[in-house]
């Protein structure tokens, strides 16, 4: 039901040419599309009913992201809804409901600043500091959609324990430098210079903060893996379609066995990745003890298999595969960005064996 709704939307409102228009425009995403997301209820579906959401979980998010992956949606759902919204939702922050409400109606973008240049995927090792007078100093990197955010949620440390704070991006001392990303989105370097906060800016401290970071990153990792699974399915269906239509040596190139086997490999990998996705999303949905391991298994698998699938898709499209005007090369770029985010394939492989 949800899947059909998203598919219908992507077909009618989000074909590749529409996406390209958005990428080429001066905006990082299309705010009209974002409004439509709100109207469909997609911006509120992930939040608990207590916070004013629809109370759906990891399963529905995975479905949404799988379909987003097929259409290469560039709107900042991951940044605003999954990373920032669900962190607020899971927190005991007293002001969370009004913020979540603003997210649900599409009026607010919040970015989660979890990464720092020196911590390489260890998001709990934080240098950004919050002193005893609540003054914030530090630099965050690769903040997804940071250039468009109304508010920033940031990790920091008071010297003893991890803290998570939230504040307006126009607060004195906040400077934001926005960059484009390889998959057509944007991220930012954000520095804090003597940013004066007070107690009501603090979302969580200590154990609660650690758990919020871990759970949020875990859920976001699941979501981008689902997106990758969508990409992998599209890579093989689009390659199949292309090779059936492309004639060389008087026959469709799909009649060559070497290409048939390669497409079969893409199909098999896509199915195996889907299986790992199903397992991981159920574990996350049940909040199971070793859900992180299952997400790591998925992330390490799609990091390798997804990239290979997308490379094969480009190769079998020949010159068309490397043309910016064709969708297929953009799946490869998406797979690069997915592998880069939240720990690459090698990193997650170690998580499993540890």
């Amino acid at each position: 039901m949800l899947r059909e709704q998203i598919q219908k939307f992507c077909e009618s409102e989000y074909d590749f040419y529409k996406r390209e228009d958005i990428v080429k425009s001066s905006e990082d995403f299309d705010s009209n599309v974002w409004k439509l997301f709100a109207e469909q209820g997609w911006l509120s579906m992930a939040f608990s009913e207590d916070s004013g959401g629809l109370g759906f979980g990891a399963i529905e998010l995975s479905i949404l992201f799988e379909e987003f992956g097929k259409s290469l949606v560039i709107e900042p759902y991951l940044a605003t809804v999954v990373l920032s919204g669900s962190l607020l939702d899971k927190s005991s922050y007293p002001h969370k409901n009004e913020l979540i409400e603003q997210i649900c109606i599409g009026d607010m973008h919040i970015s989660f600043a979890y990464a720092e240049a020196s911590n390489s995927y260890d998001y709990l090792s934080v240098n950004t500091s919050l002193d005893s007078k609540n003054v914030l100093n530090g630099t965050k990197t690769l903040v997804l959609n940071g250039g468009n955010a109304n508010k920033i949620i940031s990790t920091c440390t008071d010297g003893n324990e991890l803290k998570i704070v939230i504040f307006d991006t126009n607060t004195n001392g906040v400077s934001i430098n926005s960059f484009s990303t390889v998959d057509g989105q944007s991220c930012a370097e954000i520095s804090f210079e003597n940013v004066q906060l007070d107690d009501k800016n603090i979302i969580a401290s200590g154990e609660e903060a650690i758990e919020l970071v871990n759970k949020t990153i875990n859920l976001a990792t699941l979501c981008i893996c689902a997106e990758a699974v969508g990409c992998m399915e599209s890579c093989y269906t689009k390659t199949l379609e292309y090779t059936k239509g492309r004639e060389q040596f008087g026959q469709p190139i799909s009649s060559f066995q070497v290409l048939q086997h390669r497409m079969v490999d893409m199909f098999i990998e896509s199915e195996l990745a889907k299986s790992l996705l199903i397992k991981a999303m159920l574990e996350v949905n049940n909040n199971s003890e070793d859900m992180t391991k299952h997400v790591s298994a998925l992330k390490s698998y799609i990091g390798k298999a997804g990239k290979i699938s997308a490379q094969d898709a480009v190769q079998m499209h020949g010159g068309m595969g490397v043309s910016e005007e064709m969708m297929i090369g953009h799946y490869l770029k998406k797979m690069i960005s997915i592998d880069a985010l939240f720990g690459n394939s090698d990193f997650h492989l170690k998580n499993i064996s540890n």
Binding site: S180, T181, V182, C187, F249, G318, G321, G329, H330, S337
Partner: protein, 393 residues
């Protein structure tokens, strides 16, 4: 078989190194060393510097103004230039059309075109692939019809060529055109030289996934080409094309430049102290060494009068895979910073990416090098060649 170089070869290597240290244009070197994209003028300066030294005709016999080098000298020259990070020598003039002209062209054509190629006064591009003819090149449809007006003989050319590298800079294009559609497809093809300034030619850019404008589609509508620009005989174009493809193999393994890149990668991997990547770099080093020695073996066969021919497809397949894998490891070494890449508006509000320098360059190379396993006869076609002509199946 001898895969070691002679004393003479070693002396030659030192001469090349000396040229690279002193006469390789400094402004080009500075850019390639720091990974900055070089301009059209930089490329011209580089080629002119080679001309000045008399090395532009690296693969030509002395009677046409070439170096007359042995296969091992050619190999050394190519490897040293690669190791020094030089841009690849543009193959279209000196590597491709030049040998076709001096082998199959008439005296007038040789006098008209060869000196300008050696002095890099003309920039050539290649009109082979068409929108409907890629791997199946012989199915090409661009048509040339012969006319005779007032004692002036000329061809009228209509059609389109695609994936034409740097056509936007080119003065001339050499084209495979169809002059006869009646017989088997290979027999109706002719080899025509066309001035890019001719009325009726339109060059349309193709932007590739790395965001670059390197290739184009070239459209011909009623383009008038003097009949004297036909190379050899009408209908023999396929023979000349195959001859040319054999020449294209030179340096395709790109051993020198891969060694340089692998070396750069190794330093980065040691800096970031990543054991997973160290292992992957080690594996690539072994493969690159195997590739280099294989190239030397083929070379030694050539020097001893053998005709390796189809085996050189190994070099195309493994050489391009090597380039692609090295670039992939640069991307992996960039970690999270592989995310940043200039879009249609550059880096958003910035001119430079955040994170390490090698991140954006690595990703740019990774995306750009996808083409290497597709062009010049895709790697699948190379495997067909090997299975047919080497394995005999």
């Amino acid at each position: 078989m001898d895969i070691n170089f002679s004393k003479e070869d070693i002396a030659f290597r030192d001469e090349v190194r000396d040229w690279l240290a002193n006469d390789y244009p400094k402004h080009v070197k500075e850019k390639t060393d720091s990974g900055i994209t070089i301009s059209k003028q930089d490329l011209v300066d580089f080629h002119k510097a080679l001309s000045k030294k008399g090395w532009m005709g690296y693969n030509w016999p002395t009677e046409y103004g070439g170096t007359g080098w042995s296969a091992s000298k050619l190999y050394i020259f190519n490897k040293e230039l690669g190791l020094a990070g030089c841009p690849p020598i543009l193959p279209f003039g000196v590597g491709m059309v030049g040998p076709v002209i001096y082998t199959f062209g008439n005296d007038e054509q040789k006098e008209t075109f060869l000196p300008d190629i050696l002095n890099f006064n003309t920039w050539w591009c290649q009109g082979y692939s068409e929108p409907g003819s890629g791997s199946d090149l012989a199915s090409l449809k661009t048509k040339a019809v012969k006319r005779n007006d007032l004692d002036e003989e000329y061809y009228v050319v209509n059609g389109a060529k695609t994936w034409t590298t740097l056509a936007q800079n080119a003065d001339w294009i050499f084209c495979l055109v169809r002059t006869d559609s009646s017989g088997i497809k290979q027999e109706g093809i002719s080899f025509l030289l066309i001035d890019m300034k001719s009325p009726g030619i339109e060059v349309k850019p193709i932007i590739t996934i790395d965001g670059d404008h390197e290739v184009n589609t070239v459209f011909f509508s009623d383009v008038k080409v003097p009949a004297k620009n036909l190379i050899g005989e009408e209908g023999k174009g396929w023979t000349y094309a195959k001859f040319l493809l054999a020449h294209e193999r030179f340096g395709i393994a790109a051993v020198g430049s891969s060694m340089r890149e692998l070396d750069r990668l190794k330093k980065i991997v040691n800096d970031i102290d990543n054991d997973d990547l160290r292992k992957k770099v080690g594996e690539l080093e072994v493969s690159l060494s195997a590739l280099e020695i294989t190239e030397l073996r083929l070379l030694s066969e050539l020097e001893n009068g053998g005709h390796p021919g189809a085996e050189s497809s190994i070099l195309k397949i493994k050489g391009t895979e090597m380039q692609q894998k090295i670039s992939e490891l640069f991307v992996e070494a960039s970690g999270e910073y592989a995310l940043m890449y200039p879009g249609p508006h550059g880096y958003g509000s910035n001119d430079k990416p955040a994170g390490p320098d090698y991140a954006a360059n690595g990703l740019s190379a990774f995306l750009n090098l996808r083409k290497t396993s597709i062009y010049g006869g895709s790697n699948e076609i190379q495997k067909n060649i090997l299975s047919k002509f080497v394995l005999g199946v």
